[in-house]
């Protein structure tokens, strides 16, 4: 467990540093004042928290500041983390043991959000937990997407079912389910092609994958996860909304949080849609897909994780 937390922290160390840099005048200074509040506002906006959450955090810190003008930077950070924790209450997704075999997890999202990489990492993770996993390469559209997944699968020694480029994605999913069933697999992870949520016909293709899987098992795909690039701004909320409307999302995976982006948009998505967040992508290695923890996230963002503040 300690190793896990460490990994999470390491991945976020850069994030923490970035926000600390920006807010050095607030959280590292002794006292809060009007200027530092303004800086804090900027820091929160630039973390993509959005208007609502930023206003909420600021309001609470201002209230505390009005009540006690000797408010310390550390206390302000704690208030911020507490508000964030409150806003995100219940946002942690936990994958239950597979109720049926195979339990299907479909990874969907816009182009370049990291679906293929996440599918591979997730398979590796489940395999590490002793589950038997099959990957379905249903991105038959993007050039070499199948090769990309296969290459991961070879590296991590995971079975993958694929077809030729341009094949019908739903047909691949159908076959993969059959294969997974026959071999008694616990999970089938379906990697799909990237699609912008504004393209109706591509959204229809997702519905078809679902319909076809339901011919095997009416409850499939049991998990429908949206993979969101953590460096995107408010548009990710729009993405989540549309995917949710047409596909009924059950979870989120937020990727690419090992940079300086703080993934604040995930707060916006949670606020609006209450879709639990299962994993964060904190790096390029297979083990860098880490379970989402509200506490760790809030602490990391406000630089409170055991570092000297």
């Amino acid at each position: 467990m300690f190793g896990l937390f460490k990994k999470f922290k390491d991945g976020f160390a850069k994030t923490v540093k970035a926000i600390s840099d920006q807010t050095a005048g607030i959280f590292f200074g002794k006292r809060i004042d009007a200027d530092s509040l303004e800086e804090l506002e900027e820091a929160l906006y630039t973390a993509d928290f959005g208007v609502e959450t930023t206003a909420e955090i600021l309001a609470e810190i201002r209230k505390a500041y009005t009540a006690d003008e000797t408010l310390q930077g550390r206390q302000a950070a704690e208030i911020g983390a507490a508000v964030l924790t409150r806003v995100l209450a219940g946002a942690e997704g936990a994958l239950p043991p597979p109720a049926t075999k195979p339990t299907v997890i479909a990874m969907i999202g816009v182009n370049g959000s990291g679906k293929t990489t996440t599918a591979a990492k997730l398979a590796w993770r489940l395999k590490g937990d002793g589950q038997m996993v099959t990957l379905a390469a249903c991105d038959t559209f993007r050039a070499a997407a199948v090769e990309q997944l296969k290459s991961w699968a070879t590296k991590l020694d995971i079975e993958v079912i694929a077809s030729h480029p341009g094949a019908d994605a739903a047909a691949v999913a159908f076959d993969a389910w059959q294969a997974a069933k026959a071999r008694g697999r616990d999970y089938l992870i379906v990697d799909t092609a990237g699609r912008l949520h504004t393209k109706g016909h591509l959204m229809d293709e997702l519905a078809k994958i679902r319909r076809v899987l339901q011919k095997h098992d009416p409850s499939a795909p049991q998990h429908r996860w949206l993979v969101v690039d953590g460096s995107l701004g408010t548009n990710s909320i729009e993405q989540a909304k549309v995917f949710h409307e047409s596909f009924g999302l059950t979870g989120l995976v937020v990727t690419k949080l090992d940079g300086t982006s703080r993934g604040g948009a995930l707060v916006g998505i949670w606020r609006q849609l209450k879709i639990p967040i299962y994993f964060l992508g904190l790096g390029e290695q297979a083990e860098d897909l880490q379970p989402f923890s509200v506490e760790n996230y809030a602490k990391a963002v406000f630089g409170l994780d055991d570092q000297k503040v």
Binding site: N111, T198, G233, S236
Partner: protein, 449 residues
């Protein structure tokens, strides 16, 4: 793509109606909303603040011109400021030959796809491009580029055994000069701007190949992070341009404003779709107009010019004039429209229609119409009158549609022919009546006409 920003600016400015002079007081509310709208559109915090301040300075004290709504006047000021911000600078590529272009960016921003699109575009402009695979990290990235290169008939260079990126770059240059290519586009791996090792690697590649253009590929939906990304890449690599991708989505694209105003690097291209044809030169004034919901007619016209053969069009017009227009011509016309891109991307350029969703139906309808004509023999296409019941049934079976749809198509076609004959006969008024009737029938003529 900037619909939401447009909407928000619109509602913020509506309150300004019926005001005599623009003052700080009557502007305050509106400008606050403009700032919020900009922030919600992912424009960077500081950029939004500066933008609002500039607009305010320009507006205060201005008398509202006669005959112009104050809102419109402010829109004009905001529009001008947006154009300025987006930069009227150099959006053309360097004229050097051979032209060397380095593509850089974060993971998943669309570098490989953009490399292929750019190659295609330059080929159309008379270059002989070679695309070089310098992404040795992402599994199958090289395969992806190779497939795209083959698809677009571009020369391709890769060295799957090498792990030395600068050396790959140098070898690609040599390969290009050997096969007579006069343009090399280097597709590099996605990298975080804070990954010192990878930034060092691409710096070395840059030093080795001495590119004329270093283009940063940025996802149009990028958030506040855009500024950090652009700044660091710019410091490390001296960017010469930006490519904004995935603007066929509904991202508000505030990142474009942020990056442009913070780094000053001009936006050179925008990616509007997954197909390799959906790549456009960036025009700041058009984008500003789009932001304000004025449409992008110029782009539409240019697109039409580029894809529609002038002679073909004249021949077609002549045929129409002589009312000698058959189903084969109709099919050709439809295919020309299709060449211009997806219906959605065309509709998006029309004034006042930026928010309109075509939906898959129109495209589907067009595909069905095409299938029906494809299922006819050449004779049938030229002389639709020979189509009796059994022929129609055969066509319906062939196209996988109901016979009703075949009948519908033929009926519409007859109406169109009738109209053409009327045009020929100079029966203008009669024709108008006919058109109104068609519209009332709810069909509005043929898809794609």
């Amino acid at each position: 793509m900037f619909e939401s920003l447009t909407e928000k600016l619109g509602s913020a400015l509506r309150n300004l109606r019926g005001v005599g002079t623009l003052t700080e007081a009557n502007m305050a509310d509106a400008l606050k909303e403009v700032r919020t709208a900009l922030l919600a559109a992912d424009v960077h915090f500081k950029v939004a603040r500066d933008f609002v301040e500039r607009v305010q300075t320009q507006c205060v004290g201005q008398e509202v011109l006669k005959g112009v709504a104050p809102g419109q006047q402010v829109v004009k000021i905001i529009h001008d400021e947006l154009v300025r911000l987006l930069g009227e600078g150099e959006t053309n590529l360097s004229a050097a030959r051979p032209l060397k272009i380095l593509m850089v960016g974060l993971h998943g921003s669309g570098k490989t796809t953009s490399t292929a699109k750019l190659g295609k575009l330059l080929k159309k402009r008379g270059y002989r491009p070679l695309v070089a695979a310098c992404d040795i990290y992402r599994p199958a990235a090289i395969d992806q580029l190779e497939i795209l290169a083959k698809q677009e008939e571009l020369s391709f260079y890769a060295d799957r055994a090498s792990r030395d990126v600068p050396a790959i770059g140098a070898a690609a240059l040599a390969a290009a000069s050997a096969d007579g290519s006069d343009c090399v586009i280097f597709d590099t791996a996605g990298r975080l701007q804070i990954d010192a090792n990878l930034i060092e690697e691409v710096k070395k590649l840059r030093a080795k190949v001495q590119p004329d253009e270093v283009l940063l590929v940025v996802d149009g939906a990028l958030g506040q992070e855009a500024v950090n990304v652009a700044k660091t890449f710019h410091e490390a690599l001296s960017l010469t341009g930006l490519i904004l991708t995935k603007l066929d989505g509904d991202a508000r694209g505030g990142a474009a404003l942020s990056i442009k105003s913070i780094t000053g690097v001009p936006i050179k291209f925008i990616g509007m779709g997954e197909k390799t044809g959906d790549f456009d030169t960036f025009y700041p004034d058009r984008l500003a107009s789009r932001i304000l919901g004025m449409g992008d007619v110029v782009s539409l016209v240019e697109k039409a010019q580029e894809h529609i053969d002038q002679k073909d069009a004249e021949r077609m017009a002549e045929k129409m004039r002589k009312a000698d227009f058959n189903l084969e011509d109709f099919l050709a016309q439809m295919q020309q429209v299709k060449k211009m891109g997806s219906m959605q991307s065309l509709i998006g350029m029309m004034p006042g229609m930026s928010g309109v969703e075509v939906g898959p139906d129109a495209e589907k309808q067009m595909a069905r119409t095409e299938a029906i004509i494809h299922s006819m023999t050449y004779q049938e296409r030229r002389k639709p009158e020979v189509l009796n019941g059994s022929r129609r049934q055969r066509i319906a079976n062939g196209a996988g549609v109901k016979i009703v749809e075949v009948n519908q198509l033929l009926k519409q076609f007859q109406q169109m022919q009738k109209m053409m004959k009327m045009m020929k006969g100079g029966g203008g008024k009669k024709m108008m009546r006919q058109m109104e009737m068609m519209q009332r029938q709810g069909k509005g003529g043929f898809p794609g006409m």
